[in-house]
């Protein structure tokens, strides 16, 4: 692979997941040299393990974090409130590939939902229309089924249950489309063979990830210097306030410094905010981009919850794509339901050990054991809904505790808003109704503690005083520092975030390339 000198001012990107991998690939294909720092190592298809717990141990970001507040994570997994990946490809190794666009009204929640007390709701500085061309491109890059002439997958058993339940209940908008999983070979990647281990890293590369797609393509250009096992610990700036270098700890534990002309931070919300906060200096005493105090704030992670039902006959939900489709009827904004925003309902299968852990959080003994023994009769549903941003739901640096590298660990505080509770209750009721509609003989509802979708910690805003970055992800206070990931979302929307993250990353990369071309950066 190409080696870029540490003294050569390069575009330095922190994190190789959906956001960082995309920006890196876009820039190198335009002739720009990129240093990509990735805290994790390279783990490829041959190493992926088709065992949920072992894969979790292999891929998941385990560095200590601390959860506080009244959200479930603070009591049930206070040292590990998030589920993200530390490896080349980031959380796109774990992700399920659901690739949905946000709805038009979700770009202006403050206007459409009105003033919701106890929230920091804000409109996005861009509209759906601004993002449409980038959604198009993102769908092409990810190979999203049902777009660009890509066929949908045939319905698997678990999806068939959701579809029938929804129809019987009277719902109309159900789809097994929009998956970033190849239904046939495309873009050098294989077609899905319905293995059912999408979360464990797809061993045949049918599921899109930056590890399977953008990173190898970027390496092939000869302009990418991917440095794995390298944890960025600080972004430095010059006297004028321009980002000038990134300090990182390499795989041998040695501190290194890479001179930078542009820096993009794409560490997945919590780590992104953490790097900005760790980079405090005389000029920026509360961290980079934090002049108005928004770094780390307005953290959102979606309303969630799972429902499993024992069906009258076998389902075998583990066969095939883990999350094969969604029901959209409840994704609308309709205040007659008693809350603002909406949620999706998704068919979901989990392996026995995860299911057992979820049930175990609620109860133990006979009831769980009987339920587990019906594994082949189970169908599963998940809800994913818009949660309210709040100024005090935020990432800070722990005052005392340091991680193995001597860095202050991130603290994630969340107090659940009443709107989130109402939405969750509505979702529980709906999924119960759906299970009943197909004759479930027993239903268990579980709460999901680990946050897989992380947004909002460096939100975009038109006016500098309202956020951290502009609509291109450029930090208001620093001309050449960008935030590339879901941190920039002012609100979560109901949809899974990654297609929007990738669309924004494409838009950002265009803007960086153009500015560099103009000599503007």
């Amino acid at each position: 692979m190409t080696e870029i000198s540490k003294r050569d001012p390069a575009v330095v990107i922190i994190g190789s997941g959906a956001a960082g991998g995309t920006v890196a690939h876009e820039l190198v294909t335009r002739g720009i040299k990129v240093v990509l720092l990735e805290a994790g190592r390279e783990i490829g298809p041959a190493e992926f393990i088709q065992d949920d717990m072992a894969a979790f141990g292999q891929l998941t970001w385990m560095d200590k974090r601390r959860a506080t507040g009244n959200w479930l994570a603070a009591t049930s997994s206070p040292a590990m409130p998030l589920w993200t990946v530390k490896a080349v490809g980031g959380s796109t190794l774990h992700w399920n590939g659901l690739a949905y666009r946000m709805q038009a009204h979700e770009f202006e929640p403050r206007t459409r939902y009105g003033q919701v007390a106890g929230t920091s709701l804000a409109d996005w500085p861009i509209t759906l229309e601004d993002l449409l061309p980038f959604y198009e491109r993102a769908e092409d890059k990810l190979g999203v089924t049902g777009t660009h002439g890509i066929p949908r997958h045939p319905a698997n058993n678990n999806y068939r249950v959701l579809w029938n339940a929804a129809k019987r209940a009277g719902y109309g908008s159900i789809s097994n489309g929009n998956l970033a999983i190849n239904s046939e070979p495309r873009d050098g990647r294989a077609g899905c063979i319905q293995m059912g281990f999408c979360n464990q890293g797809c061993k045949i590369g049918a599921k899109w990830s930056t590890q399977a797609s953008e990173i190898p393509k970027a390496i092939a250009t000869g302009r990418l210097d991917l440095r794995t096992g390298c944890m960025a610990v600080r972004i430095e700036h010059d006297a004028s306030g321009r980002a000038s270098a990134v300090v990182y700890r390499d795989g041998n534990g040695v501190l290194q410094s890479q001179v930078a002309r542009v820096v993009c931070v794409a560490g997945n919300a919590v780590e992104t905010a953490r790097v900005l906060l760790l980079s405090d200096s005389g000029k920026f005493p509360s961290g980079l981009g934090n002049g108005w105090g928004h770094v780390g704030r307005h953290y959102t992670h979606h309303v969630g919850g799972g429902t499993f039902g024992v069906m009258p006959k076998p389902v075998n939900m583990h066969r095939g794509i883990s999350v094969p489709g969604s029901l959209f009827d409840e994704a609308r904004h309709d205040e007659t339901r008693g809350f603002v925003g909406g949620y999706l309902i998704q068919a979901m299968s989990v392996a026995p050990s995860f299911l057992a852990s979820l049930l175990d959080a609620e109860d133990w003994g006979e009831r769980n054991a009987d339920f587990m023994e019906k594994y082949d009769h189970l169908a599963g549903l998940l809800i994913c809904g818009e949660d309210m941003p709040r100024a005090d739901n935020r990432v800070t640096l722990d005052r005392e505790e340091l991680d193995a590298l001597g860095l202050r660990i991130p603290c994630i505080h969340v107090d659940v808003h009443e709107n989130d509770r109402r939405m969750e209750a509505h979702g529980r009721l709906t999924t119960q109704v759906l299970m009943d509609a197909v004759g479930a003989v027993d239903v268990r509802q579980v709460r999901t503690a680990l946050a897989t979708h992380n947004m909002g910690t460096a939100r975009m805003s038109r006016r500098p005083e309202d956020g951290v970055v502009d609509s291109f992800g450029r930090v208001h206070e620093m001309p050449n520092l960008f935030v590339s990931d879901g941190s920039v979302f002012p609100s979560s929307s109901a949809e899974n975030p990654t297609l929007t993250i990738v669309a924004l990353a494409l838009r950002q990369a265009d803007s960086i390339a153009e500015r560099l071309g103009r000599g503007d950066l």
Binding site: N157, R160, Q194, I204, K313, S353
Partner: protein
């Protein structure tokens, strides 16, 4: 390219917030089982076997599966965990006013519930859960089928064989 070796054992322990030995006993691939484990106390293994069977009362799972877990838990415990396990078993008997495992299931459950939240209870529960439900011999009994790559996925093996509901249109 530089490489970085994660300390998986430590991190997994951290994550699951169980005693290290509970995890070792779970038999998850990659979890190190200490060599030269302390001499196992047969009485303790019998008691813990009963505890884990009560926690996960599967009549279709061979009792030996539970016994093997209990033996691994006791056999791989470091000295402080061993003391904790011993004390937990003694506490069960103390609360039973006799031999806890000889009580009827309702009274056993009552006493176990009272121990909820103790390190003993958590170690057996977390370790037992992982040991049982990551064991394909066990989960196959419930209809799970495990890794599928070698068999070519489920594309030709029933991913859409559900026949009691109409096909989506």
């Amino acid at each position: 390219m530089t490489r970085h070796s994660d300390s998986l054992v430590l991190s997994r322990r951290n994550l699951l917030m169980a005693g290290g030995s509970a995890l070792a006993a779970s038999g998850i691939p990659g979890v190190v089982v200490a060599a030269g484990a302390a001499a196992a106390d047969a009485g303790e293994i019998v008691t813990i076997t009963r505890v884990v069977r009560d926690m996960f009362p599967h009549r279709i799972v061979p009792i030996l599966k539970f016994r093997d877990f209990a033996a691994r838990l006791v056999g791989t415990a470091d000295s402080s965990t061993a003391a904790m396990l011993k004390q937990g078993c003694a506490e069960l008997d103390r609360r039973a006013g006799g031999v806890w495992r000889t009580l009827d299931s309702k009274r056993r459950r009552g006493i176990l519930e009272g121990m909820g939240g103790t390190p003993f209870f958590s170690a057996v529960r977390t370790g037992g859960l992982l040991a049982l439900y990551t064991d394909l011999d066990v989960t196959r009994l419930f209809g799970y089928e495990g890794p599928s790559l070698e068999k070519g996925g489920y594309l030709l093996r029933g991913f859409n064989d559900l026949d009691w509901l109409p096909v989506p249109t």
